[in-house]
């Protein structure tokens, strides 16, 4: 359950919603000829939640979104929205608003007419319609641009018009297909924040497809990490980052060090001649495993004092990245072990760390993730 949501609506409310998910996807499979684009996907999303589908291109995230919208009907499986089985319904019979990377604004209609498009034949009185359009444009900070054509607006403004158009009919579900990918970096960061604020205010259940992990980490209540048509992990941004369920997720989100080792006994893994303490997650003794640790979790220990999980490592390269140094380390006593560590600027200066320095590197046991299988293939 998303932590942000829990804060917002209260534990009681969340419990009620968790028992009746707004969107329930069960055992969804989509095949294009011999190619399996979605492989047995099951997923539940509660009302008001912001969920990101994250994964590399070709992982099936867009296919899943299009199946939810009814644009590419699944081969097998079931989709329920608000208790209603929508598996076989065409897009027009479903309840969603959608925003595309290309905006897909009607070029010959003004911003206001674009927003009004979905309201016009819904038997809304003219005055009511005008009021609603104005309200939406205002909400997006576009009140002054209603009479402009899409070509006269900037990319960010166009995307906001597209968002207003999608929200105009008050859909129960908002689908965002890489909505920020076509924008330049500054606008993207700004709009990220805006969309998130808006979603919180309107409490509309939202699914966003993205390949940008930063986007997913900052915006989502929960992230669905996908790979090769299957779900790798579902969790809050913090869970996904801190406790990646598989080497794929660990590698895909953020930067991760991988080291090969062997389980010695419960709570210990051998790395060359060194033993490291860590939670081996019930794996049998002698199992080949892969250890994973984030660069920022690696600590530098005072040299000379021996400590558990300390390795002597040499600095091969030191790159200044603004707020920290990234050090490439190689094992002195454990040959073949290569690590990247993020070191605070202040510490590097204080300790006088340079290339070729020998450091005592500490790998905190609670920060080490252990996955079965050898790291050799990564």
């Amino acid at each position: 359950m998303g932590k942000a949501l829990r804060r917002e609506v209260g534990a009681e409310e969340v419990r009620r919603r968790v028992t009746t998910p707004y969107l329930r996807i069960s055992r969804l499979t989509k095949k294009f000829g011999a190619f399996t684009a979605l492989d047995d996907i099951s997923l539940e999303i509660v009302e008001g939640e912001f969920v990101c589908f994250l994964g590399p291109s070709g992982c099936g995230k867009t296919t899943l979104l299009r199946a939810i919208a009814g644009l590419d009907i699944q081969t097998t499986g079931r989709i329920e929205q608000n208790g209603r089985d929508i598996s076989a319904l065409p897009p027009t019979k479903r309840d969603f608003g959608i925003v595309f990377q290309s905006y897909a604004l009607f070029p010959n209609l003004t911003a206001a007419r674009n927003v009004a498009y979905g309201l016009e034949n819904a038997r809304v009185p003219r005055a009511e319609l005008a009021r609603r359009v104005l309200e939406l444009l205002d909400l997006m900070g576009l009140a002054a641009h209603g009479n402009k054509y899409p070509a006269q607006l900037s990319g960010g403004q166009q995307q906001r018009v597209a968002l207003a158009r999608a929200l105009a009919t008050s859909p129960g579900l908002l689908l965002l297909d890489e909505p920020l990918s076509a924008l330049d970096a500054k606008v993207r960061v700004h709009l990220r924040h805006e969309i998130k604020q808006l979603q919180r205010r309107l409490r509309v259940t939202t699914i966003m497809v993205t390949h940008d992990q930063e986007e997913a980490l900052t915006m989502a209540d929960r992230i669905v990490v996908m790979n090769l048509g299957a779900i790798e992990q579902i969790g809050t941004p913090l869970e996904i980052y801190r406790e990646p369920a598989s080497p794929f997720v660990a590698d895909f989100i953020g930067v991760m060090n991988f080291v090969a080792g062997t389980v010695v006994h419960d709570g210990a893994v051998r790395l060359g001649r060194t033993e490291l303490a860590c939670d081996v997650d019930g794996l049998a003794d002698g199992t080949d495993v892969t250890l994973a640790i984030r660069p920022e979790d690696i600590e530098i220990h005072d040299a000379g004092r021996s400590a558990p999980n300390a390795l002597a490592m040499r600095v091969d390269a030191l790159a200044f990245l603004g707020s920290f140094f990234r050090a490439d380390l190689s094992g002195e006593t454990t040959p073949g072990v290569l690590l990247r560590a993020d070191l605070p600027v202040e510490m590097v200066r204080r300790r006088g760390i340079t290339e070729k320095s020998i450091l005592s590197v500490l790998l905190p046991p609670e920060r080490i993730r252990v996955y079965p299988g050898s790291a050799a293939n990564r």
Binding site: L71, T92, R94, G97, I98, Y103, A104, G118
Partner: protein, 544 residues
Amino acid sequence: MRLFIGVIGLYLVAALALPLGLMLAKSLQGPKEEFVGLANYVRYFSTPALFQSIGNSLWVSILSTIITVPLAFVYAYALTRSRMPFRGFFKTVALVPILVPSLLPGLALVYLFGNQGLLKGALLGHSIYGPIGIVMAEVFTTFPHALLIILAALALADARLYEAAVALRASRPKIFWTVTLPGARYGLISATFVVFTTVVTDFGAPKVIGGQYNVLATDVYKQVIGQQNFQMGAVVSVILLVPAIFAFMVDRMVRRRQVALLSARAVPYEPKPQRLFDLLMLGYCVVTGLAILSIVAISQFAAVVKFFPYNLTLTTAHYDFDQKGGGGWASYYNSIRLAFLTGVIGTVVVFAGAYLVEKARGFALGRGIFHFLAMLPMAVPGLVLGLAYIFFFNAPANPLNVLYRTMAILVINTIVHFYTVGHLTALTALRQMDPEFETVSASLKQPFYRTFWRVTVPVCLPSTLDIAIYMFVNAMTTVSGVVFIYGPKTELASISVLNMDDTGEIASAAAMAMMIFYTNVAARMLHLLLARWLTLRTQAWRQR
């Protein structure tokens, strides 16, 4: 949407596929409609008078192609690669032949080089009636078609290639052979096949100036109109289809490769002034332009004098069409009605068809068949289509035979005859639109026809107008498509030209051909004004 695809698809099946199929069947039948296998073909190939025409057709087609393509290439080169003055004017002049029926150059050539012609001596005793006249007329007719294709190819030039060549100290001829020509390669191949097909299938020029020189197109006409031998007419039609379909397929393949060139990001080439070269190019364009204009001018002049070139007293007698052999003034008004109806109805049908092919989801097989049917008319000569219509719509068993010899059948035929170019124009326009419009509309619970009407049609309006004017102009000038299916009350201006020429009223024929020309010029100008007005009114969104 499937319903709509079905309706327009049914139109193409009834107005194209079934008639053509029936014609193929007829070519395998005897006079009593009994199946005779390939007997008609055997007879065709054992009758020298008939199969000689194949060689004749190929000969004039190859000759015309060899002359037209280089002429058009140099003209296009002058327009795109020189800084000579009046380039816009010369481009307009070169497009004049599109606006006249292919009968007109034949008439003008008779006046110039005929038995009583002004320049008869220039032929050194050869007769204009025959391959010489046909080739001259065909060069005139096909010149603008070749020019437009080559212009498009030359316009793709990448300035960076020229800069690189200059930086490598390549000489001008070397640059021409290594950069310019390869860049225009596909355009030249495409132009070659378009000219070849147009000449092989053209009926107007050989009819007027071919004399005793038989070609395939005139053979179809003679078999059907002269000898009422429909089976043999069908045989010749099938033979005429072979080179047309072959050229069509090669052209499609070549064009597909040209697209790949287009997508590369090129920096447009801007020629620099070079006095001598520009002057040479201007000279060439003046000579070529004068030749084109003189064909039209002679026709007009001959139409307003008593007996060109011997009695140059002005007269309006030749415009008294009702007293001549053709269909009179009524035929001119019929032509305008046909062109107008074809322009309006044809545009609606073609555009709606292209929309359904492009935007419908699923139903891939149906859309594939539809697209094939839409591309087919390009490869079907007008005469072949017309003959197929006789077989199909004149059959007593066909409930559609009430249409025979009505204006309706002429409209149906003309739309199909010129379907492909309109279809491709509409497809291009539709493909430039965001493919997600329909998805967004669906999510906003809007029916597809509302988005079609509110967004698709307005955005594609300029292309729609282009289709309409194309249909109109071609409906005014076409002879081959309609010559078999017009009726006593639906004779057309172009048919009148043909019939008046047949009865020796050449001046009146020229007068009528020029009426077609002026009508097309007026339609073009109206199109230009309308397009400008509509752009101001409905295309404000295009401005930034």
